[in-house]
Amino acid sequence: AQTVTQSQPEMSVQEAETVTLSCTYDTSESDYYLFWYKQPPSRQMILVIRQEAYKQQNATENRFSVNFQKAAKSFSLKISDSQLGDAAMYFCAYTSPRDDKIIFGKGTRLHILP
């Protein structure tokens, strides 16, 4: 079964600094997709970034970028120029077209220090 592991339950970063959140996954599929979702205190889930496994180029969305290492099954999220509004739970997620399940990791709580 596919699994998603986030090994950092909590992290802190100074405002305007850069932080990297880690995610590893286990799968035997070659075609799959990876996501990072953000959950602020409002509890609303927000898609941050999406990566297609067959694309070698790392996805980027403004201050958010990923480091996708397919061979290592690693999918880390880098947040540049951290802002107070980035404080939230961040979830890594995986899906493959073969079974349509979307599996989430346990999450990393990110604190932004002013």
Partner: protein, 113 residues
């Protein structure tokens, strides 16, 4: 536009009671999902559906049932509620595949006492 609507937002159940969590989306999405979120445990997939009339088990289906008679609605039924089902429940949907952006409801906080 409403998006994904979940009702109720909060509910307290007694052990052994039953209830249905409602989920409706108005985006004509085919894929719908139910998750539960427990502190420190992330989101666990309960059931999902890829279209009307089709449902499948997720990671933690025991104690729950679902149906998908229409594209819009995907209710989650709890039979014989137990304290272990105390959680926040999220419904989510995507248009045509699982690899698209998920649209989430605002969640239902359920306590079983």
């Amino acid at each position: 536009n409403a998006g994904v609507t979940q009702t109720p937002k909060f509910r307290i159940l007694k052990i052994g009671q039953s209830m249905t969590l409602q989920c409706t989306q108005d985006m004509n999405h085919n894929y719908m999902y139910w998750y539960r979120q427990d502190p420190g445990m992330g989101l666990k997939l309960i059931y999902y559906s890829v279209g009307a009339g089709i449902t499948d088990k997720g990671e933690v289906p025991n104690g729950y049932n679902v149906s998908r008679s229409t594209t819009e609605d995907f209710p989650l039924r709890l039979e014989l509620a137990a304290p272990s089902q105390t959680s926040v429940y999220f419904c989510a949907s995507s248009y045509w595949t699982s690899n698209e952006k998920l649209f989430f409801g605002s969640g239902t906080q359920l306590s079983v006492l």
